[in-house]
């Protein structure tokens, strides 16, 4: 595998709230190389978005970030805010989930894309606006020169998401973090946006971190997958490892909950019983244990001992955090 652009080691994020310290991300590792796509998968509250915000350094002030975030080998955690500011939006850019709320309603989209450019380049407003039009055109906004003067509310959802992507790409970032970029969109538009991201990646060799709970999208575009559960890594590996050799009961549960047309129809989709634990509520044992169908087979260990990531058969570095030694058979 190529040299990673972004490497994250033992990332921990703790929120200091009125109810005490809440660990939202509890030691995760991942890396992504130029032109590659890493998908981070998990339910709401599993720490996916917090991890990406931590990498960007845009968490609220009550969050404490520990661990290493290396961009081309340069440590970002603990950098002075001024240095970080130069990296944000320039080397690492973020595509948000909800483009309507991510855009400022009071400024034209051209202005907003141009602002992102001006923040990192010493150019005239006019030149920046030209650059914005160029990018809006590149992401497929028709009649970009005219539409650049429109406000966000004058665009459709898909077009707005293109604007947000243009804003993220305007500085040719090394890493693009897309936080559920298609969740708020129609299925047909979703495909267009994913295609756009793939095109961009091919053209610029951008490393893409895709945060998603849409396993269909993940199967299509990702090279590597990180499955997160309760702020920790449940499983990671290549996309084929996950879809063909999933080793963690949670991954199996996610796969089982996904509708498929390539297998004989089941009477109904399987679901994972229960709901994800609130961060920090499970102190000992496996965080997935209360919802796990395999606990009885393993026994006491699931309750007393926290499973660490251990190697599993597969391509490259397939790992899962589960006490089940071998790949579990699906339990129906």
């Amino acid at each position: 595998m190529a040299e990673p652009v972004l490497e994250v080691h033992d990332l921990r994020v703790t929120f200091d709230t009125e109810g005490g310290l809440v660990p939202a991300v509890d030691g995760i590792d991942f890396s992504v190389a130029a032109g590659q796509t890493l998908a981070i998968v998990g339910e709401s509250g599993s720490g996916k978005s917090v991890s990406s915000a931590a990498v960007m350094g845009i968490l609220p002030s009550n969050a404490e970030v520990k661990g290493e975030v290396l961009l081309d080998g340069r440590e970002l955690v603990g950098l002075p805010s001024d240095e970080l500011r130069k990296i944000r939006g320039n080397d690492i850019a973020l595509v948000f989930q909800d483009a309507l709320s991510a855009l400022n309603p009071y400024y034209t989209v051209g202005w907003q894309v141009a602002e992102a450019y001006r923040l990192h380049h010493d150019v005239s407003k006019k030149a920046a606006f030209q650059r914005a039009i160029e990018l809006l055109d590149k992401v497929g906004i028709p009649d970009a020169a005219r539409r650049a003067k429109s406000y966000p509310h004058e665009f459709s959802g898909g077009m707005r998401q293109r604007v947000v992507i243009a804003m993220a790409l305007v500085n040719d970032p090394r890493v693009l973090i897309a936080d559920e970029p298609t969740t708020a969109l129609d299925v047909t538009v979703q495909a267009q946006i994913m295609q756009l991201l793939a095109d961009v990646q091919e053209e610029f060799g951008t490393a893409l971190v895709l945060i998603s709970h849409d396993l269909g999208v993940v199967a299509e575009v990702a090279d590597d997958v990180l499955v997160m559960y309760a702020g920790r890594a449940a499983e990671r590996g290549t996309v084929r490892d996950l879809f063909h050799r999933a080793a963690h009961p949670y991954s199996l549960g996610l796969l089982g909950a996904m509708p498929r047309i390539d297998v004989p129809p089941r009477p109904r989709l399987t679901t994972i019983p229960g709901s994800p634990p609130s961060p920090g509520s499970i102190k000992t044992g496996c965080p997935f244990q209360p919802r796990c169908a395999y606990t009885e087979r393993v026994g006491e260990r699931c309750i007393t001992e926290r499973p660490e990531l251990t190697p599993r058969p597969g391509e490259g570095d397939h790992e899962a955090a589960c006490h089940l030694g071998r790949r579990p058979e699906a339990v129906v």
Partner: protein, 332 residues
């Protein structure tokens, strides 16, 4: 901008109707009072003959509706009271004639307006600056001592009557410290320095009291605004904190602040009654109060209508500015 033009024309037409209804209401209220203005004009001793003469001269012997129609006619055509050498002319636009002051109401209002406008506009600029900046500071330091201080100042400001603070200011800065003049007004055209020097205390008194509501409003708006997703976008783009707060945060909080400001200023231009009284300034408020004392109905009606007109105009201006500030608002 034909849309906005039509909007203004429609609103101005509506304003005329509102003013008509309002003038009738005000007229009926003040002419329903049991006291007889002619009695005061007649002097002592007042023979029935002279009283009748005065009533006729002041056109009080006509029916109330006829008097109202005369009033309306006077606005466009002017009025003449009495005949021959003793006749009194009130040129169009005539909003009534003050017999106690022997001047047309229009002239009286125009004479007093600069005083009130000087007080109102100067104070408004001050309270806007003080209120908005303290509000922003409070929001940025939410829950910390600086926030508590600003909120406390706002609470005191909201609860203090202007005459109390005005008298205290005169006592402390005027008499004890002998820093500023304690009363009087110098026209701007005579000496701008003296003008400002005489006004600085009333400005500060009004500004401190009014700023309170702006601190609260700005604080609440900023807290809401800074929580929005597009603020995170601005940070993710690499915008510095000052830019995030002012360009992206305050911009969104501006609409309600401008609305409140327009209405407050419009209201104050109609007469800062207590402040004018405390600082012995001959403004519109002072004109109104002494007219009430002298049963000078024409002045009371005229000033009341003028104040109402200012508030309607302020509303119109606020609506127009609102459309200019928020691209999502259309005046269609």
């Amino acid at each position: 901008m034909p849309d906005i033009l039509w909007f203004i024309i429609r609103r101005l037409l509506a304003t005329v109707l509102v003013m008509l209804a309002l003038s009738l209401a005000v007229y009926l209220i003040f002419y329903a009072i049991p006291a007889d203005p002619a009695h005061l004009a007649c002097g002592k001793p007042c023979t029935p003959d002279r009283l009748e003469q005065a009533r006729h001269f002041m056109q009080l012997d006509q029916s109330t509706i006829q008097q109202y129609l005369n009033f309306l006619k006077g606005i466009f055509a002017g009025r003449t009271f009495g005949e021959g050498a003793a006749a009194v002319h009130c040129n169009a636009p005539c909003f009534g004639y003050s017999f106690p002051l022997a001047r047309p109401v229009t002239t009286l209002i125009l004479d007093r307006l600069p005083v009130t406008a000087s007080i109102a506009v100067g104070a408004a600029v001050l309270w806007l600056i003080i209120g908005v900046s303290l509000g922003v500071v409070a929001a940025l330091n939410r829950g910390r001592p600086l926030d508590r201080l600003a909120v406390g100042v706002a609470l005191i400001g909201v609860s203090t009557p202007s005459f109390l603070l005005g008298l205290l200011a005169i006592l402390v800065f005027g008499f004890w410290l002998n820093m500023v003049p304690v009363n009087g007004y110098v026209p701007f055209s005579e000496s701008p320095v003296d003008w400002a020097w005489h006004l600085v205390t009333p400005w500060l008194v009004l500004a401190v009291l009014q700023a309170a509501s702006y601190i609260r409003l700005t604080r609440a708006q900023m807290l809401e605004e800074l929580n929005l997703d597009h603020i995170t976008t601005a940070r993710a783009k690499g915008a510095g904190e000052a830019r995030v707060v002012v360009t992206h945060g305050l911009r969104g909080a501006l609409v309600p602040i401008v609305t409140l400001f327009g209405l407050d200023l419009g209201g104050l231009l109609g007469g800062a009654i207590l402040t004018e009284k405390v600082f012995s300034m001959q403004g519109l408020g002072e004109l109104l109060i002494s007219a009430v004392g002298q049963l000078d109905v024409a002045v009371v009606v005229g000033v009341t209508l003028f104040s109402a007109f200012l508030i309607i105009v302020a509303n119109l201006v606020v609506d127009i500015v609102h459309g200019a500030l928020d691209p999502r608002v259309s005046h269609g």
